[in-house]
C-alpha cells in the first residue's frame, strides 16, 4: 500500500458523510484493472463498513465468480456487479406484514442503549399517522425513569400508556398490556422492554417469560418480535441477533442511528449469516426519520 492511499483514507475518515462509494471509486481509479491488489483493497473497504470478514469473503467470492463468467477485466463493471450481488443478498429475505392484517402486537427488544424507546415512539407515530389506534406498554421496569421517558412520548403523541411502578414484574405489565389492548380493541399494541445484554442468562429468561405472557394472550392479534440494533455496533450485532432470535424468535430488525457516519454494513452480515429481515431504518431523531427498509433503496444509498 502506498502512502498516498493511507493519507487519502485518513482524509476521508474525517469527512462527515463518508460512505462506501468514495473509497470504492478511488480504488477503482487507482488500480484501473481488476487485480488481486484491487480485491484486497475492496476487502478492506467492506470490512471498514462493518460487513465483517465472513460476509466480505462471501461477497468477494461471488464477485470473482461473476467477473469470471462475464470474462471481463473492466474495473468499471465492478460497481454494477457488487450492487447486484448485495441487492440479491438482501432481497431474498421476506419481511413480515406490518400494515395490513391488524390487530398487531409488537414486542420491541434489544440491548441497552440501542434506541428502543425512541423507535417505539416513532412506530407509534407511524401507525397514528395511518389512523390506527395504538397503545404503549411500559415493560422496562428496571432502568431508572424508563417509564417516565415512555410516558412523555405517550403524552406528546396522545397515546395511552399501560404501566406499573419501577421494579415491577415485567411479565405482569405485559399481561396487563395485552389484556388492555384486547379489551380496548386497539389496532397496534407496542411493548417496550428493558435493555438487556444478550449474554445475561437471567435477563434473557425474563424476556422469554414476557414473550410467553404476550403470545399466550394474543386472541386475534398477531405478534411480531422486533429487534432493535444500533448501526454503529460492530460484529457484536450478529451475536446480539443470534441470542435474541434464539430466545424469542425475531421477525424483523429495526436498525437505528444510521444518521451518523456508520455505514450499516452489518445489514449485509445479518442477511448473509442469519437470514433475518431488516424492516425499519432509523436515520434521525424526527419521527418521519423512521423508514421502511427497502433493499434496492438501501444498496442504492450505499452506492450514491
Amino acid at each position: 500500500m502506498t502512502d498516498g492511499f493511507v493519507s487519502r483514507l485518513k482524509a476521508s475518515l474525517t469527512k462527515t458523510r463518508q460512505r462506501f462509494l468514495a473509497p470504492l471509486e478511488e480504488a477503482m481509479l487507482f488500480h484501473k484493472k481488476i487485480s488481486p491488489e484491487f480485491y484486497e483493497e475492496l476487502e478492506e473497504i467492506l470490512i471498514a463498513s462493518d460487513v465483517g470478514y465472513k460476509t466480505t469473503s462471501l461477497l468477494l467470492d461471488k464477485l470473482k465468480e461473476k467477473v469470471k463468467t462475464e470474462k471481463t477485466d473492466q474495473i468499471n463493471e465492478i460497481k454494477g456487479y457488487l450492487r447486484e450481488i448485495m441487492t440479491a443478498l438482501l432481497s431474498v429475505l421476506s419481511p413480515p406484514d406490518l400494515d395490513t392484517d391488524l390487530p398487531l402486537a409488537l414486542l420491541v427488544v434489544g440491548v441497552n442503549g440501542v434506541g428502543k424507546t425512541t423507535s417505539i415512539a416513532k412506530l407509534a407515530e407511524y401507525y397514528k399517522g395511518k389512523d390506527k389506534s395504538c397503545l404503549l406498554v411500559a415493560g422496562d421496569t428496571f432502568r431508572a425513569a424508563a417509564i417516565d421517558q415512555l410516558r412523555v412520548w405517550g403524552q406528546r403523541l396522545g397515546i395511552d400508556l399501560i404501566h406499573h411502578q419501577e421494579g415491577a414484574d415485567p411479565g405482569a405489565v405485559a399481561f396487563d398490556g395485552i389484556s388492555a389492548a384486547n379489551a380496548r380493541k386497539v389496532d397496534v399494541a407496542i411493548f417496550d422492554t428493558a435493555g438487556r445484554l444478550h449474554t445475561k442468562v437471567n435477563l434473557m429468561t425474563e424476556l422469554e417469560k414476557v414473550h410467553r405472557v404476550v403470545s399466550q394472550n394474543l386472541g386475534e392479534r398477531r405478534l411480531l418480535n422486533l429487534l432493535v440494533l444500533d448501526a454503529t455496533t460492530g460484529q457484536n450485532a450478529l451475536s446480539q441477533a443470534r441470542a435474541f432470535h434464539e430466545a424469542v424468535g425475531i421477525d424483523g430488525i429495526i436498525l437505528t442511528k444510521l444518521d451518523g457516519t456508520a455505514k450499516g454494513g452489518i445489514v449485509l452480515a445479518i442477511a448473509a449469516e442469519l437470514g433475518l429481515p431488516i424492516v425499519w431504518l432509523g436515520i434521525g431523531e424526527q419521527s418521519e426519520d423512521l423508514r421502511r427498509f427497502d433493499p434496492d433503496e438501501f444498496v442504492k444509498a450505499l452506492f450514491a
Binding site: 483514507l9 470490512i47 460484529q235 457484536n236
Partner: protein, 441 residues
C-alpha cells in the same frame, strides 16, 4: 467475558506456531494473518490493524524471532508488547484540579451509557471519600434528568437539575452550587449527540468554555464497530478529550474498539463499565487487558478480587484443602457464595488462564440456581458431602427427593463440583506463586 473470542483465536494460532522449531518468514506471515483476521473480527479498525501487524512483523522477522530459542514465546511477547503499547503503558487516574471543585464533563453518542456512567463514577468517587455533585445537563431526552435523580437517590448523592432548557447555564449553575455546598467534584451528564451534529457539538464546546473541566471524558460503547474511530476523532478534535470510558464490557463483545480509539486519539482509557448496577465500574489496567487478549488471563485482577472478598485465613485453609485434594461439597458451597460476591461467575472465571468460553458455558449460574444447589447439598448426609464418590444411584434419588430438584440437576451439580475442583487446583497453583503452564508456551 471480555475478548475471550479473540484470545481463543490467538491461542489457536500460537499453538500452531509451537509445533515448529525455528520460524521462517512464512510462518510469521501465516501467524500474523491469523492475528489480523482475529483483530478485524474483533472490530478493531482496519487501519489500526494494518499498522499493528506491520509493526509486529517488522520486529518479528528481524533477528529476534528467527534466532530465538523459543520462537513461539518471542512472537507472543512481541504481539503482547505491541498490544500493551497501543493500550497505554499504565492505569491512569482521574485528574484533580488545584482548586475545588474538580469538574468532569462526560460526552458521547446516544445510548453509550453516559447517565449510568455518571452515577457509577459518582459512587466510585464517593467511596474514595470525595463529595461529588451529579449534574443533569441532558435537556433533550425525555426523563433523562429524572433518571439521574433516581440514580442519585440510589447512591445517596445530590443531583443538580437546574431550571430551564439551557445545558450551558445548568452546568455553570451546578458548579456554583457545588461551591456553595462544599462539593469537591462536579460530574456533568450531557445529552447523547452525533459527532456530525455541528450545533450540538458546539453546545458541548460552550459547556467546556463555561465550566473549564479538568477532564473531558468520552463514553464509548465497547460493542462499537469500525466507526468508533470516526466518532472518537470527531469528539477529540472538537473538545480535546482527556480520557475514555468504555462501557458494556460485560457483553461478549471482542472490544476491538478499545484498541482503535486508543490508537487514534492517544487518550487513555480510564475506566471500564460492566453491568447496570452502580458498583459496575473499574479502573482500566491496560497491561492486564493486553494480557487478557493474549489468553494469558487476567491473573492480577482475579487475585485482587479474591483477596478483597475471601478472608485471608479462610483462603489459606481452602488452598491447603485444594492442594491435598480434600476439597468437599461443603467447601464448594462456601466457595460458591464467595465467588458470587466477586461478581458474575463467567467474569471471574474468564480471568483464569486457559479457560475458554466454551468451558464456561456450563457454568452460567444465577442466583436461583445457587439456591437450588444449596438445597441439594443440604439434602446430603455429612458423609456424602465429604466423600461425594459414595453417592450412588439410590442416594441420588433420595437427594433429589429431599431437595425437590430433578435428579438431572443432582447429577449436574456433582459434575460441576468435579469441574470446579479441577479449576480450583489451577487457581491453587497461581496462589503458590507460580504462573500456570500455558498450553502454548
Amino acid at each position: 467475558m471480555v475478548f475471550s473470542n479473540l484470545s481463543e483465536k490467538l491461542q489457536e494460532t500460537f499453538r500452531r506456531l509451537r509445533g515448529k522449531g525455528k520460524l521462517g518468514e512464512k510462518d510469521v506471515d501465516e501467524a500474523l494473518r491469523q492475528v489480523k483476521l482475529a483483530l478485524l473480527e474483533a472490530d478493531v479498525n482496519f487501519r489500526v490493524v494494518r499498522g499493528f501487524i506491520n509493526r509486529v512483523k517488522e520486529r518479528a522477522i528481524g533477528q529476534e524471532v528467527l534466532n530465538s530459542l523459543t520462537p513461539g514465546q518471542m512472537v507472543i511477547k512481541i504481539v503482547h508488547q505491541e498490544l500493551a503499547k497501543v493500550m497505554g503503558e499504565k492505569a491512569e487516574n482521574l485528574k484533580i484540579s488545584d482548586r475545588a471543585p474538580s469538574i468532569y464533563l462526560l460526552a458521547g453518542l446516544q445510548g453509550a451509557g453516559k447517565t449510568t456512567t455518571v452515577g457509577k463514577l459518582g459512587a466510585f468517587l464517593k467511596k474514595q471519600g470525595r463529595r461529588p455533585l451529579l449534574t443533569a445537563a441532558d435537556v433533550y431526552r425525555p426523563a433523562a434528568a429524572k433518571q439521574l435523580q433516581v440514580l442519585g437517590e440510589q447512591i445517596d448523592l445530590p443531583v443538580y437539575c437546574g431550571e430551564g432548557k439551557d445545558p450551558v447555564a445548568i452546568a455553570a449553575q451546578a458548579v456554583e452550587r457545588a461551591r456553595q455546598t462544599q462539593r469537591d467534584i462536579v460530574l456533568i451528564d450531557t445529552a447523547g449527540r452525533l459527532h456530525i451534529n455541528e450545533e450540538l457539538m458546539d453546545e458541548l464546546l460552550e459547556i467546556k468554555k463555561a465550566v473549564n473541566p479538568v477532564e473531558i471524558l468520552l463514553v464509548v460503547d465497547a460493542m462499537t464497530g469500525q466507526d468508533a474511530v470516526t466518532v472518537a476523532q470527531s469528539f477529540n478534535e472538537k473538545l480535546g478529550l482527556t480520557g475514555l470510558i468504555l462501557t458494556k464490557l460485560d457483553s461478549d463483545t471482542r472490544g476491538g474498539a478499545a484498541l482503535s480509539i486508543r490508537e487514534v486519539t492517544g487518550c487513555p482509557i480510564k475506566f471500564i463499565g460492566t453491568g447496570e448496577k452502580m458498583d459496575g465500574i473499574e479502573v482500566f489496567h491496560p497491561q492486564r487487558l493486553a494480557s487478557r487478549i493474549l489468553g494469558m488471563g487476567d491473573v492480577l485482577t482475579l487475585i485482587e478480587k479474591v483477596e478483597a472478598t475471601v478472608e485471608a485465613e479462610q483462603a489459606k485453609n481452602l488452598m491447603k484443602k485444594i492442594q491435598k485434594d480434600q476439597f468437599t461439597l461443603e467447601d464448594f458451597m462456601v466457595q460458591m457464595r464467595q465467588v458470587q460476591k466477586m461478581g458474575p461467575l463467567e467474569q471471574v472465571f474468564s480471568m483464569i488462564p486457559g479457560m475458554k468460553s466454551k468451558q464456561l458455558q456450563g457454568l452460567a449460574l444465577d442466583e436461583k440456581s445457587l439456591k437450588h444447589i444449596e438445597a441439594i447439598i443440604q439434602s446430603m448426609t455429612i458423609e456424602e458431602r465429604r466423600t461425594p464418590q459414595i453417592i450412588n444411584a439410590s442416594r441420588r434419588k433420595r437427594i433429589a427427593r429431599g431437595s425437590g430438584r430433578p435428579i438431572q440437576e443432582v447429577n449436574r451439580l456433582l459434575n460441576q463440583f468435579e469441574q470446579s475442583k479441577k479449576m480450583m487446583k489451577q487457581l491453587g497453583n497461581i496462589g503458590k506463586g507460580g504462573f500456570p503452564k500455558l498450553p502454548f508456551m
